[in-house]
Symmetry: C2
């Protein structure tokens, strides 16, 4: 690739029918530029493989120019979209992203870090595994002086920058919406794992009910692994109650999908008789009948902000650097499974 092939700010401006000055400001997150314009410019910059020369040349040489990203699995819309957001920012800094999967297995997670050391990455961005209890392998990264950023699944013990989602707020919004639809007996599917995100969602659920003056009923809170089959079993358990619920807020879309199947098999109308809301906004949620309401985790922004935190740290004076925690607000997407006419 010769230098003449390279995309310029002018190319981006032309494609978006705007000026080079606007593009430059958008790429540098200038406060005067609207969020929508920034989005459009960054998306186009990624598509056209734009790499600013000034930033590239400012970076120290002799680096691998690689960021290693550790995800439980790349085959989840949430994680892959975060990675896409990371790549959008990385490419602007002339960096490339390589991905390693931990499969939520602590031993494999250790190995991913060794693999990324072998690949001589300049930094690591990770979402920790569900079952990880010991974090020594992450401490090894910090000790080596390699920048480490955690996203989505953070860890309070590690002194590194973290970009997280406000799971409490996401759950609170979902349950408040169900109450506004007239639902009074709202069930909740939660996880036996009891990892922090599920605890926060449970707290959002109970607080939303309390704030509306609705009593918490233990029989309506059901623990499982939140997979499709679990959702089926939980829903059957709820239908066997003397008084069945009029809504379910599930901490996962898969759990909500299982509930939907059981409700349809029993010819119970959704959302009129039982309304449903899931969590994560997996792509399949638009394809179900009715489409499933869900809580979107603003994954593309999370990726971009995480990458930005990484480059901030990479370019910071080491003596001057303080880890930061960023908490993002999720967004409730209301669809046919909970919207009554």
């Amino acid at each position: 690739m010769t230098r003449n092939d390279k995309t310029t700010i002018q190319d981006i401006a032309k494609r978006l029918n705007t000026t080079a000055a606007t593009v430059s400001r958008a790429l540098n997150d200038h406060p005067r530029i609207s969020k929508a314009t920034k989005e459009a410019v960054k998306k186009m910059a990624f598509e056209l493989n734009y790499q600013p020369n000034n930033i590239a040349s400012a970076l120290r040489s002799g680096k691998s120019k690689l960021i290693g990203v550790i995800v439980p699995t790349a085959n989840r819309a949430f994680f892959s979209t975060v990675v896409r957001g990371i790549e959008e920012v990385a490419i602007q800094h002339n960096y490339r992203v390589i991905i390693s999967q931990s499969y939520d297995d602590p031993k494999k997670e250790e190995e991913t870090i060794d693999a990324l050391f072998s690949a001589r990455v300049d930094g690591i961005i990770a979402s920790t595994g569900k079952k990880t209890l010991v974090f020594d392998h992450y401490r090894k990264v910090i000790e080596k002086g390699i920048p480490l950023i955690l996203f989505d699944r953070g860890n309070p013990e590690l002194k590194v920058s973290q970009v997280l989602i406000d799971d409490y707020q996401g759950a609170y919004q979902a349950v408040k919406h169900l109450i506004e639809q007239g639902c009074k007996r709202i069930a909740h599917f939660t996880s036996v794992n009891k990892i922090s995100i599920y605890k926060d969602r449970l707290r959002g659920y109970t607080d939303a009910l309390r704030d509306a003056g609705i009593d918490i009923q233990e029989e309506l809170i059901i623990e499982s692994d939140l997979q499709l089959e679990d959702g089926r079993i939980c829903m059957e358990q709820l239908l066997a109650l003397k008084q069945r619920p009029d809504a379910v807020f599930s901490s996962s879309d898969y759990g909500a999908m299982g509930a939907m199947q059981v409700l349809k098999e029993n010819e119970i109308n959704i959302p009129e008789e039982v309304a449903l809301v899931g969590f994560s906004n997996e792509p399949f949620t638009s394809y179900t009948d009715p489409p499933l309401s869900s809580v979107d985790q603003t994954s593309i922004s999370m990726g971009r902000i995480t990458a930005k935190a990484f480059f901030d740290q990479l370019n910071a004076d080491k003596s001057d650097f303080t880890p930061q925690k960023t908490i993002l607000s999720p967004q409730l997407i209301i669809r046919g499974s909970s919207q009554k006419k």
Copy 2:
């Protein structure tokens, strides 16, 4: 991780209630061991992080022990499952997998290769991008003497081992099944990209019709990008015909999903009035109503076979090595969208 932590063949045998000898034979693909047992053993070996010492020690030292995998996007069930299959085999050879995404963009694909060079990978396994026309970056890999294996989307010009799917056969099976269900006017959604896999599927469609004595009708073959919205538009076009089709075989599940939405909006019964079959067996196909029949691309086997081809080449005498092409048979999964009572 000390050596005492390591999983042994005995551990695997215990968990599967079988003998160490059986496990050993299964791991070495002994012909006497059933396919089901091999599957179970390899799955368990992966879950328990089993790493055979003999193979590990046989490998030359001073290597990164990394395989770089290039996929258009990791966020597709097909690609991520192939990667999982590759990892299952890689871990048995003490290798780790790192993933780099090309986003089907030729320039990004070039950069993935540079990134994997920076990561000092011992080999590259790739599925080429949809729009890649020039393959010089892959030739660079070959010239460097780094083993390169292609899967799913191959290239006849490159002299490397390739593991492909018999797209022709997959399409033929799907259309034959629709004919057996009594369908006579079977439409086909194909891609304007005209890349080899879609051409092969179109050929499978036309041959299955011809072999059943059914005339090919040009008005029933519609080209698009095969996304959900395309499927909607194509289906509306078909419903506007004087005589509408009684089945659609779509070269993508997303296209079939769009068709399903339009049929339901028009209160046309699936499969009684119009039967539907997609391609790729995306996970959402089990969640639609009715569930969508589709052609499964045996992705986990494809991953394992691709990795095996890689290690065969890595361990082969260079003067003695000949690239091989492996063609796998896809499998039709029949669900409610095409199975008439």
